[in-house]
Symmetry: C2
Subunit: 394 residues, 2 copies
């Protein structure tokens, strides 16, 4: 019988031009720590300056900037920024950028209020999983990419500098208080990153749909998200300044974040986090694309009904196909979408991953993000993991 638990306390302001509301919304304090990436894009396109100015317009809110965040953000930066936050007495943390900036903001908001090391609290890997006693500062997420959905979920992924563990962590405390998703800030994302991030969002929705805790609410957001990305991502990649395509992909991404709050990723994400854990230059979305055809081919055989529904939702007339072929229509659609976005030829060998790494990747996936395997509707054996990596290897 249908049931669901729903909890999403984040206020989400979505739409072109919405960033300007930052000057008018109720803010959770008088001083902000703005967390952003070390790359130039948030400066080059003026986003950082705009955010500082809008906060100042909002009754003179002051800003302190931490701009060292790496594409795969690391534990040591979380600790450094949390110390900066305490030193300046910041009341809330603004994550400005993609998932790396916003995930960092969440983890920093936690460590600004709690003693010890971030790895004392994370669950998974060598994290000690200690209870959080002092809450977290409020987080405001301002997205400049469409990929992680972190603006609409309570999760953060941080890599340990020393041991390469890339661990997802989170809970109710880490929902952003406010998220602003303004597709105008995404017009300048380069084509390749647009594709990687869009596929990441697509897989959040697809995994959330095949997860064993999927429910009527997560299904609704997941199906809508997949359809929007299938329809609009190729245009967003080809013509980055198409605001309509950017808007639909951004909405799909936020919806996929809601899926992550109401359902869960599955083992595909564990496999990929292991890959980009040992190959830090590998973008997360690219890693997912590399293994996705083999992964969903595997689950198309195990849970054909759900995978067939995903194909139907993309507009494919599955009823006209022979029964056994219906779930595979989803895999073919995925392949077409990869071609349409120019990402069908990604090779893990280019990032230094070799078949000799596969057993280690399988072990790392279970060690660092083993929990997601329990979300699969059918158990993924070690043999199946190795087969997925082998089929995906180029």
């Amino acid at each position: 019988m249908d049931c669901f638990d729903f909890y999403l306390p984040t206020r989400i302001l979505f739409g072109a031009g919405k960033l300007d509301e930052l000057a008018r919304v109720a803010l959770p304090g008088r001083k902000a720590l703005i967390v952003t990436t070390g790359g130039q894009s948030v400066r080059k396109y003026g986003y950082l300056g705009r955010v500082i100015a809008l906060l100042a317009q909002n009754g003179g809110v002051e800003s302190v900037v931490f701009d060292k965040v790496l594409p795969n953000p690391v534990r040591s930066h979380v600790m450094e920024a949390a110390a900066l936050c305490r030193e300046h007495g910041c009341d809330f943390v603004v994550g400005l950028g993609g998932g790396s900036a916003i995930d960092s903001a969440k983890s920093i908001a936690l460590m600004a209020r709690n003693p010890g090391d971030y790895w004392d609290y994370v669950q998974g890997g060598s994290g000690l999983g200690r209870p959080v006693m002092n809450g977290a500062l409020p987080v405001i997420a301002i997205t400049t990419t469409a990929g992680t959905g972190t603006e609409a979920d309570p999760w953060t992924v941080i890599t340990h500098d020393d041991n390469q563990e890339k661990v997802g962590y989170g809970g109710d405390l880490l929902f952003p208080a406010l998220s602003i998703v303004d597709p105008e800030l995404m017009l300048t994302v380069p084509p390749r990153l647009t594709a990687y991030q869009g596929f990441d969002a697509f897989f959040h929705a697809a995994e959330g749909y095949i997860a064993n805790i999927a429910n009527p609410v997560s299904d609704m957001f997941a199906l809508r998200s997949m359809r929007l990305i299938y329809d609009y991502l190729p245009t967003a990649v080809a013509r980055g300044d198409d605001l309509e395509a950017r808007t639909q992909v951004a909405m799909a991404n936020t919806f996929a974040g809601i899926v992550e709050s109401t359902s869960s990723c599955t083992s595909e994400h564990s496999l990929e986090h292991a890959m980009s854990g040992i190959a830090p230059d590998l973008p997360h979305g690219a890693g997912l694309i590399m293994i996705s055809l083999a992964y969903f081919r595997h689950f198309a055989r195990l849970i054909p009904e759900r995978v067939t529904e995903m194909a139907r939702n993309l507009g494919i007339d599955v009823d006209a196909l022979p029964g056994a072929d219906r779930p595979m229509a989803f895999v073919r659609a995925l392949e077409r979408m990869q071609k349409a976005c120019g990402v069908d030829q990604l090779r893990m060998s280019e990032y230094g991953i070799t078949p000799a790494d596969f057993p280690r990747l399988a072990a790392l996936a279970r060690h660092a993000m083993g929990g997601l395997f329990s979300m699969d509707r059918a158990p993924l054996t070690d043999a199946a993991i190795l087969q997925i990596f082998e089929e995906s290897y180029k």
Copy 2:
């Protein structure tokens, strides 16, 4: 261009058997004021006793009961229960029952923390619209009917004892902290009430879909809600013990509540609240059913595209119809659903409303709930209001 604001901080536990989680969830205090209706159903079926016992199991939380709530709840009871709440030092308010109990719980939670009279704060009618300075106690909503969606929205409708004003009021403070929607508690709702309440939920969704502030999130919930009610309400009315039908209708109702949180009702609700304001025995859902065919016929002419989409969503092959006939397919579907639920012969004359009342009803609708007229995509003139009442009169 698509945009939306989303804010729904309520934790929603939905599904058969979910009431038992009340013994385990985190509660916002040690003493509850349970607000429920004067009718016998919550006692007869043991719901009140179960809630008191489950709260006690949850670390010994104590309960105080206020059980005078009327079907159209009144201001004087809000004030009386708020005084009781303060007197006993209750930490939170549990609304147990239908919309009347839960709406009362919200208003009581407000008045337990603020001075003066409830009508000092309400906006609309003769309410003074003063700002709320002291917040509100947390509210837990436990629904025993599927009609108002109040468990997933921040609204409450209370009638003034003296002047018959029936005013909707609310805001972020009045979202329930926790809502438990357990369809097992709805198995005993009599057929006629099941129909009235189900149609009320349907109109929350339909109005939210044609409202001028509808957006991609509210549309998704509205379309799903309407389809579930269209498919399952006749069964829930005919076989009240069908848990599957009850579950789907309950889900549709909660989704319609989310529509009320993300979009808005339109003038149909203003017209009906005026009707049941002057005819207190008229159930709200019955009043809506009475005027709905004329109301949606009117808007089918004004905004044919949106109304056609609602027909398509119900599974009607609108593309096979002549253009002008497509939006009217929705009105015919509504008529079929009324017949299938046995509520196509309701007469406002049986509740003492006569054509001589229509001008007064039109004026009262604008006076007490005028704000909803601004949510219509095309202005509803006084002449059109009178025509809707006249066409609806039996």
